[in-house]
């Protein structure tokens, strides 16, 4: 059994209440931080822990905190990003539903470290039930003296509010989130300035993911050095993985970073293998935005070594043969799934969610969707495949925010690894409407694949 730092008590009845949460050691981190540490010391512990942002980009949290500008007489804000909308990711909802106090406790300690006296948790609007849960938890914490004025008699004041979103994936992007929190359209801001200098209401602001903030609790309880001992290399600690798709046991798992991918998919402790006795065809390992990989490259690198669940290992091989950790949304595709259809589905998602500010993303995402739709429904041409690659290149890197890249990568990677399946859709337009290309050679052992990958390294 791997170490559990966040979900250890998930199955304890009543753990969603302050009472039970405290019986299990909850709010120790608040006591420790506020009574025995200075804000800078808390930041120092988080730096030592090596914690990397769990929202997608993997940026070291302690470093991000130390960039926060601290001009005299200007308020600072901590905003928790609970917009969780990346297809394949559902860990934050899970955490907030079952252990809301883990997030509240993390928010108190983190706000203290950053010197924020008002903090917001921006929750996507669809999570109304979770908003109610958090509001209840906040009321409990306030009644117990963990929030409000003069917390635990230390002189530190903090108000914590929950803000609902309105239904827009783009509001997960931190500057779009801040715009939305200011009551505006969720258009990402043009950077610089970065939020650390001018964020919410023009004040210095840190935006962190739910899981990043919850992880601060064990870091303070056990010390940054202890936390850094868990995991592998620069991927320290544990990570919540949202597992979905054709798995025997989909769900949220806390893993120690460095777990072999094969063990995660097939062992009974985690996903228990592919559902209905089928075989694995492909995975999207970190949420819909990261490159899709065929089964063989999911389990092993191009050189045959096993791939691990860590930031470094998942991206081993670059975009040619690797992928990314992203937000930890692990989607498994069995042999009956159609890669073209899924690529079209994801393209439709990004088209639907583009904020429309910058031309390459606004126009390009719709173009990708339309071409993919035509391929999926039997009207495609051979030249469409290269057209898709070309359009995705014209979006990638030329936009205001990374949504453009996120829309381009799934398309480019699907064609990189599954070009024969796309071609089959063109050659067999009728057959492809009623049957699937199947597993083909996507699961055959790696050695054969190396050559091919090099050839169409797009």
């Amino acid at each position: 059994m791997g170490r559990k730092l966040l979900l250890e008590h998930i199955n304890v009845p009543g753990i969603n209440t302050l009472e039970v949460y405290r019986q299990k050691g909850g709010y120790r981190a608040v006591e420790k931080a506020l009574k025995t540490l200075t804000p800078d010391e808390v930041v120092e512990e988080v730096k030592k822990s090596g914690l990397r942002g769990r929202g997608g980009a993997g940026f070291p949290t302690g470093m991000k905190w130390s960039f926060l500008a601290k001009p005299e007489g200007v308020a600072r804000y901590l905003v928790c990003n609970a917009d969780e909308s990346e297809p394949g990711t559902f860990k934050d909802r899970y955490l907030m539903t079952y252990i809301p106090h883990a997030l509240i406790e993390g928010m108190i300690v983190s706000s203290f470290a950053l010197g924020a006296n008002t903090s917001y948790i921006y929750v996507r609007g669809e999570m109304m039930p979770q908003i109610r849960i958090l509001e209840k938890a906040i009321a409990e914490a306030k009644a117990a003296g963990f929030l409000g004025k003069n917390i635990l008699g230390t002189g530190y004041d903090l108000e914590l509010y929950v803000q609902p979103g309105g239904g827009a994936y783009i509001c997960g992007e931190e500057t779009a989130l801040l715009e939305s929190l200011e009551g505006k359209r969720g258009n990402p801001r043009i950077k610089p300035p970065f939020p650390a200098i001018a964020g919410l209401y023009g004040c210095p602001t840190v935006v962190n993911n739910v899981e990043s903030i919850a992880a601060v609790v064990p870091i303070i309880n056990d010390g940054g050095d202890e936390y850094a001992k868990v995991g592998i290399g620069r991927s320290t600690g544990t990570k919540l993985i949202s597992a979905s798709g054709n798995l025997v046991k989909p769900g949220v798992y806390e893993i120690e970073l460095g777990l072999p991918v094969e063990e995660f998919i097939y062992s009974d402790e985690y996903c228990g293998g592919i559902a209905n006795g089928k075989r694995l065809k492909a995975t999207v390992a970190g949420g819909s935005s990261v490159p899709i990989l065929p089964a063989n490259l999911t389990l092993k690198y191009a050189n045959g070594e096993p791939r691990l669940m860590s930031y470094e290992s998942l991206s081993e091989g670059g975009f040619a043969t690797g992928t990314m950790m992203g937000s930890g949304g692990f989607i498994a595709f069995d042999e009956d799934q159609c890669i073209v259809r899924n690529t079209w589905n994801f393209a439709r998602f990004y088209h639907h969610e583009s904020c429309g500010q910058c031309s390459p993303c606004r126009e390009g995402t719709g173009w990708l969707e339309k071409v993919l739709h035509r391929l999926e429904y039997g009207h495609g041409k051979m030249s469409d495949i290269d057209l898709l690659v070309d359009v995705s290149k014209k979006i990638e890197g030329n936009t205001i925010c990374p949504l453009g890249d996120a829309a381009a990568w799934p398309v480019a990677s699907a064609i990189r690894h599954f070009r024969d399946e796309f071609e089959w859709h063109v050659k067999e337009p009728v057959k492809s409407l009623s049957s699937n290309y199947g597993l083909a050679n996507y699961a055959v052992p790696i050695e054969r694949k190396v050559e091919e990958v090099k050839q169409d390294n797009l």
Binding site: P192, C355, S359
Partner: protein
């Protein structure tokens, strides 16, 4: 921090005040190395960054930190650093990416230039001409909207809009009340008032001048003429609106004033915003004191009729890279 910043764009070095954007530094140099800007507008705070036509490559970040920037950047929203080196038209990567942006801007554009009032003074037309592909690769139906009148003075052809947000910034910053804005999301976004209201207040007509395409047009433009048959003349009147100084361009056909616009500088931006009275109500020569024919850049279709020849800036004569960049224009002048 009063020291000037040295920045080199396509091999030409210029010294600019701290805080200047790459685009504005390039404008100080002038000529072909100025990136095209479809959404940035120096008079509108917060504008820029959206259309992505002005992208350039920063090959050296600064003297202190010489690393190149990993991606192409929007020159209108990137501040120069001392010692920065930038490539615009000398970088094939930039030109290719810009072609891509232009292609994106055109895939849903109606390409109705033959019937568009803006034809001849449209930034998109110029841009498409310089960077566009010969043939469209987009084989789907183009997005269409109804043409609507927003008040009795202004007409909106949403099909042509490139969502540069300039008219929104103008309404926010120049007029005293904004009633139009951007509705919906993504490629369904549209400029609209949502409910039927007229865009109408003293300065609302300026949205027509800032619009880089023919999406917002002057309903009072008489006889609907092609701009290149009209003859622009600078004129002024004693306007008693406190914020308007009455300096305009009159567009003549024969002896008739067809329309009135603000005066525009060499980058297509208005010099000063004008009030609606000057723009919409004063269409008789007697209303105005005529100054002289308007200077029209040589690249514009309007100048195909007439006048001024291209006069190279002194800096161009001295600099080989700029001479190369302005080859076409220089050849034209030597022909004259």
């Amino acid at each position: 921090m009063s020291d000037l910043m040295k920045v080199t764009i396509d091999g030409i070095t210029v010294e600019v005040a701290p805080g200047t954007s790459i685009l504005n530094a390039a404008r100080q140099i002038g000529g072909d190395i100025v990136p095209p800007a479809m959404c940035y507008y120096s008079k509108l705070e917060g504008s820029g960054g959206k259309c992505r036509t002005c992208i350039v490559k920063v090959t050296k970040g600064s003297e202190k930190d010489p690393r190149p920037m990993p991606k192409l950047v929007a020159s209108c929203r990137t501040t120069v650093m001392d010692g920065m080196e930038v490539q615009n038209i000398t970088s094939p990567e930039v030109l290719e990416a810009r072609n891509g942006v232009v292609e994106m801007l055109l895939i849903n554009h109606p390409l109705d230039c033959p019937i568009c009032d803006q034809a001849g003074e449209c930034d998109l037309q110029n841009l498409g001409y310089e960077n566009g592909l010969q043939r469209t690769r987009y084989e789907f139906e183009r997005r269409t909207f109804e043409r609507i009148d927003i008040g009795d003075k202004i007409q909106l052809h949403m099909n042509r809009c490139i969502l540069c947000y300039r008219c929104v910034f103008t309404a926010d910053q120049i007029t005293n009340k904004r009633v139009h804005g951007i509705l919906n999301r993504g490629d369904h976004s549209e400029i609209s008032t949502y409910i039927q209201t007229a865009v109408d207040n003293d300065f609302s007509g300026n949205v027509i001048d800032v619009c880089p395409v023919g999406a917002l047009t002057d309903r009072t433009f008489r006889f609907k003429n092609r701009v290149w048959f009209t003859k622009p003349v600078d004129a002024h009147r004693d306007c008693n609106h406190e914020k308007c100084n009455g300096k305009v361009t009159l567009w003549y056909k024969g002896a008739d004033v067809l329309r009135v616009t603000a005066r525009k500088d060499q980058f297509g931006e208005v010099e000063e915003f004008i009030c609606n009275e000057c723009r919409f109500e004063k269409k008789a020569t007697a209303d105005w004191t005529i100054e002289h024919p308007t200077h029209i850049p040589d690249t514009s279709v309007i100048s195909s009729n007439h006048y001024e020849t291209f006069k190279p800036l002194p800096v161009i004569k001295e600099n080989l890279a700029l001479q190369e960049a302005n080859k076409v224009e220089l050849e034209k002048t030597s022909k004259f």
